[in-house]
């Protein structure tokens, strides 16, 4: 029985792994093809089935004058905007979430849960609803087509995610831990920074992961709020599209743009399995 279980377990894990990895392999193989190899029927193995070429990749790094799109600038723009906005969102979101979890706010009929919902309700609206207000805000601040403007907008988009995840996280951290810290001589700020925060790393990592993902994949606002000076990766990649869909460079672009997320996921996963709160409450 345990043998059968082990076999089935590995069988399904391998099956799932194939399911996940196959598209990547396909993308890698496609990225080294040219027009003829892509349209000439299903082929997978380079050299044997088709002649590999670097054309698909080189388009990504060639300047516009040579028919390329040069993603290096937008790539670093995307990394900078996503990381900065995520970091600020996590810091502000964690502070807000702690307050919402531990203190009681009341203004008429508005209570803690309503405030929490207010945060997340920002994400209920389709992005297009926000596009005009954001455009007007940024233009009146003179921040259209700038990294600062994008960061500002992304904080608005990402902080609700951070708040939501962290409120839920803090609600699971026993209040008695904070109270014990107070009794043991911490003022409320020390209790937060010395005791609550060190134990919140797992929650902050999860929130950070979500912020980075949602920031990285955004196309809509990056498209609406930038023109020529500043461009983010997803917008730049769209410039690849022409009368003939260049599947080879699209595959290369897909691999390049998914790479940071894979790295982040691996880092976060390692820390997630390490930290836990199980010792706090029995």
């Amino acid at each position: 029985m345990p043998k059968l279980y082990t076999f089935l377990k590995y069988f399904f894990v391998v099956l799932w792994a194939c399911f996940v990895i196959a598209p990547f392999l396909w993308a890698i193989s496609t990225s080294f093809k040219d027009f003829n190899s892509v349209t000439g029927g299903a082929t997978y193995i380079p050299w044997l089935q088709f002649e590999p070429t670097l054309d698909g990749w080189s388009v990504l790094f060639k300047p516009g004058s040579q028919g390329g799109i040069n993603i290096i600038g937008p790539y670093f723009n995307s990394i900078f905007v996503t990381l900065t906005a995520s970091l600020i969102s996590i810091v502000l979101g964690t502070l807000a979430a702690y307050a919402l979890s531990r203190y009681t706010f009341k203004a008429g009929i508005v209570k803690n849960n309503d405030i929490t919902f207010f945060f997340i309700s920002q994400r209920i609206m389709p992005p297009v609803v926000l596009s005009i207000p954001f455009f007007i805000f940024l233009s009146s601040l003179g921040l259209l087509d700038s990294l600062a403007g994008l960061i500002l907008v992304y904080i608005v988009l990402l902080m609700p995610i951070a708040v939501w995840i962290m409120v839920d996280f803090f609600n699971r951290v026993p209040r008695e831990i904070d109270e014990t810290a107070l009794i043991d001589g911490c003022n409320p700020f020390q209790a937060f920074f010395k005791v609550v925060l060190p134990n919140s790393v797992p929650g902050m990592l999860v929130a950070g992961l979500f912020c980075i993902i949602f920031g990285w994949i955004d196309f809509f606002f990056a498209f609406i709020l930038t023109f020529t000076k500043v461009q983010l990766l997803p917008v730049k990649i769209v410039a690849l599209n022409s009368s003939i869909t260049p599947w080879w460079s699209l595959s290369a672009a897909a691999l390049v743009s998914v790479a940071p997320l894979i790295i982040v996921a691996f880092i976060v996963e390692r820390y997630l399995s390490k930290g836990n709160l199980s010792g706090a409450l029995k």
Partner: protein
């Protein structure tokens, strides 16, 4: 030196959590707050610690207004019912945390931590992670942290209730020893419990609380022998004392029309009328000539059997000094130890105790 609570009330909702509490705690003494779940024990401890601000009343400690001092400056220690430690620190750093917070000298911290760890039997566990410890060990860490502080007020909120039976018995013994030792430090020790047996064993002054009100204070013996009200008698006995309505008429005590007992001599001075009669479960015994009751539930507890009995509307719990399985609805004949009968007024106040002279 003493801690005085004057007219403390706390009413966050429609119900009082604390209702006009007046208490005095003296240094070097141990107090047990005995009450059921949600009776206000934890709220009272949190109020003393400063985690909760009462709506009205005042607290004085060493002639200072305690309520004006924030929690982190009050020099109290508290151990919770849940095992609360700092999960990101190892055992040693957990115990040292309050001392480091005071910016004590490192060498002195080391000495105090060692001392506290020794008291609770945690030597050898210094560098363990909290998550690697069993429940009992985690609670020892919490206890060591509160002892290391040498706080003037030590609050223990049902510290043993989440431990298994064996461990609880063992730790309770150690608690008693610990408290005797810490008497020298002249701290006030306040222990909250739901368990009457535990309260009696700890042998401190008992404070009975229910629905946020103090019902009685006194020594364990005093509260056991002369419960001020029927409610106190229920709270301070496990199983709860059987309280039933009764009628005293012509030297006999009638419960529910069906049970009639000749009253003992010392009760003969009580005028006829309606009362509440209280009989401990241990003062009910099996008797072939006794009254017939139906068994509703029978539960075996250690070397005893608790019988939940019913005779029409009259319910009572009896402790039988043997382990025996009874079937539901089986008829048993029982009698009441007349010399151990308590009598309460209909309002609940004690009218007669078998221990009264």
């Amino acid at each position: 030196m003493s801690l005085m609570l004057n007219h403390i009330s706390f009413k966050p909702t429609e119900e009082y959590h604390l209702n006009d509490i007046n208490l005095r705690f003296d240094s070097g003494k141990m107090y047990t707050i005995l009450g059921r779940t949600l009776s206000g024990k934890t709220t009272l401890l949190k109020t003393i610690a400063g985690l909760q601000t009462p709506d009205s009343g005042s607290i004085n400690f060493e002639d200072t207004d305690f309520l004006s001092i924030p929690v982190w400056k009050r020099n109290v220690a508290m151990v919770y019912q849940q095992f609360i430690n700092y999960p990101h620190l190892n055992v040693r750093d957990n115990v040292a945390f309050p001392l480091k917070q005071r910016k004590m000298d490192e060498n002195l911290i080391e000495k105090e931590v060692q001392e506290a760890m020794e008291k609770v039997g945690l030597i050898g566990f210094e560098s363990r992670k909290i998550q690697e410890l069993s429940g009992g060990q985690q609670q020892r860490v919490a206890l060591a942290r509160s002892l290391a502080k040498k706080a003037k007020i030590l609050l223990l909120d049902e510290p043993l209730v989440n431990l298994d039976y064996k461990l609880r018995e063992g730790l309770r013994e150690e608690f008693k020893k610990l408290f005797n030792v810490s008497d020298e430090s002249n701290s006030i020790l306040i222990y909250a419990s739901t368990d009457p047996l535990e309260a009696m064993q700890l042998n401190g002054d008992i404070i009975v609380i229910d629905e946020g009100k103090i019902l009685q204070t006194g020594t364990a013996k005093d509260v056991f022998e002369n419960p001020a009200t029927a409610k106190v008698a229920e709270i301070t006995n496990d199983p709860a004392m059987n309280i039933n309505k009764c009628l005293i008429q012509d030297n006999s005590l009638i419960m529910n029309d069906s049970v009639q007992i000749q009253i003992p001599d010392e009760l003969k001075t009580v005028p006829n009328g309606k009362y509440l009669v209280g009989i401990r479960a241990t003062d009910i015994y099996l008797d072939d000539q006794g009254f017939a009751f139906d068994v509703e539930i029978s539960e075996i507890s250690g070397s005893e059997t608790f019988l939940h009995l019913r005779n029409n509307n009259l319910k009572c719990v009896a402790t039988i000094e043997e382990v025996k399985t009874y079937n539901t609805n089986e008829v048993v004949k029982i009698n009441f130890d007349k010399s151990k009968i308590y009598l309460f007024e209909e309002s609940g106040d004690l009218r007669h105790s078998p221990y009264q002279q």
